[in-house]
Symmetry: C2
Subunit: 164 residues, 2 copies
DNA sequence: CAGAATCCCCAGTATATTAGTTGACTTTTA
DNA sequence: TAAAAGTCAACTAATATACTGGGGATTCTG
């Protein structure tokens, strides 16, 4: 029941982008350095996030990545699902209709399946309830909100203004 | 975030033993056949469960395994922890004291760590709240409680009587 | 316009884990 | 004493993980 580095790095990188929102494209290199992740490896992960439509990239000098949505509209669950696939502790939870590939014939009568289903739902609930903004806010509080350079929250205010 | 077959088979096998409680030692062969698990592989898993004190074995003909505790006193979490180790989606949750092996120096300041901690607690809560007896009861209900051969519940009654 | 800074893509690779298999040995019952 | 069971140790094929390496393509800056 371990999360792979894909999921962890994905969330960490997205959090890093959220913390630097409003500063234009953030280069992979800087994210990798701050978060201590192999640059080349992170590149592959960002590719997945880009294809999934969570980040947008700009090529060339001064290029980098930005979030496509606001931090409050991106949950940790969104990111984990992109990086690791659907949240299901066992595969039999995935194919629910008979005839589909990988469907377990015991689906209807399996009592342990219900256990894993509850586990999956519980994980999903936690991950879907936490957004990048929550993480930014937590970090801002940790640093002391008076002195913190809390871009993420500033961006929030900006988006509220924009949305009026 | 997948459970391995170790955890799944472990729970399934223990559930099988719970369903046949009171019938003396249950052979690995019969468990493997009913639950469609490789007998030799299951053997290794039962070895772990035995060392952990969850089951007791009897050697020789008519031998097999029995539960050491009552089904209501064995949670799915107990079994999963034996089979898969501590429930923690990331390793940094495990070593909490500085100086211990694998301690992450960012423990105190890492905001994503809190996410994984919540996930781990949520998984633990679910797994610890479900006992083998719950599974047996569910199965008995599924079969229709009037006709069901619900040994597990009979055993429950027996244990209540014994405990008076 | 050169070159540096970026992102993009494809391919390889060492290590570990998973999910077993094989086989020899011991214990107990009928 | 033979068959039925658990015990133990070693081997293995397949897969996933967590990278590394190298060559492009694109864009900004001097």
């Amino acid at each position: 029941m371990k999360l792979s580095t894909k999921g962890r790095y994905g969330v960490t990188a997205m959090y890093d982008l959220a913390m630097h929102i409003g500063k234009g494209p953030i280069s992979l290199k800087s994210v990798a350095a701050r978060q201590q992740i192999s640059e080349h490896y992170l590149e592959q992960l960002m590719g997945q996030l880009r294809k999934a439509g969570l980040v947008k990239s700009t090529r060339g000098a001064q290029g980098g990545y930005i979030l496509v949505k606001q931090p409050q509209d991106i949950s940790v669950g969104d990111i984990v699902r992109v990086m690791e696939g659907p949240i299901a502790p066992v595969d039999c939870l995935l194919s629910t209709d008979p005839g589909s590939n990988g469907y377990c014939p015991r689906t209807e009568i399996c009592v342990t399946r219900n256990v894993w289903q509850k586990v999956g739902e519980s994980i999903s609930n936690v991950l879907d309830s936490i957004t990048l903004q929550d993480l930014c806010r937590e970090e801002a509080q940790r640093r002391g909100s008076a002195t913190a350079n809390n871009n993420c929250l500033k961006a929030d205010v900006k988006s509220i203004v924009t949305n009026i």
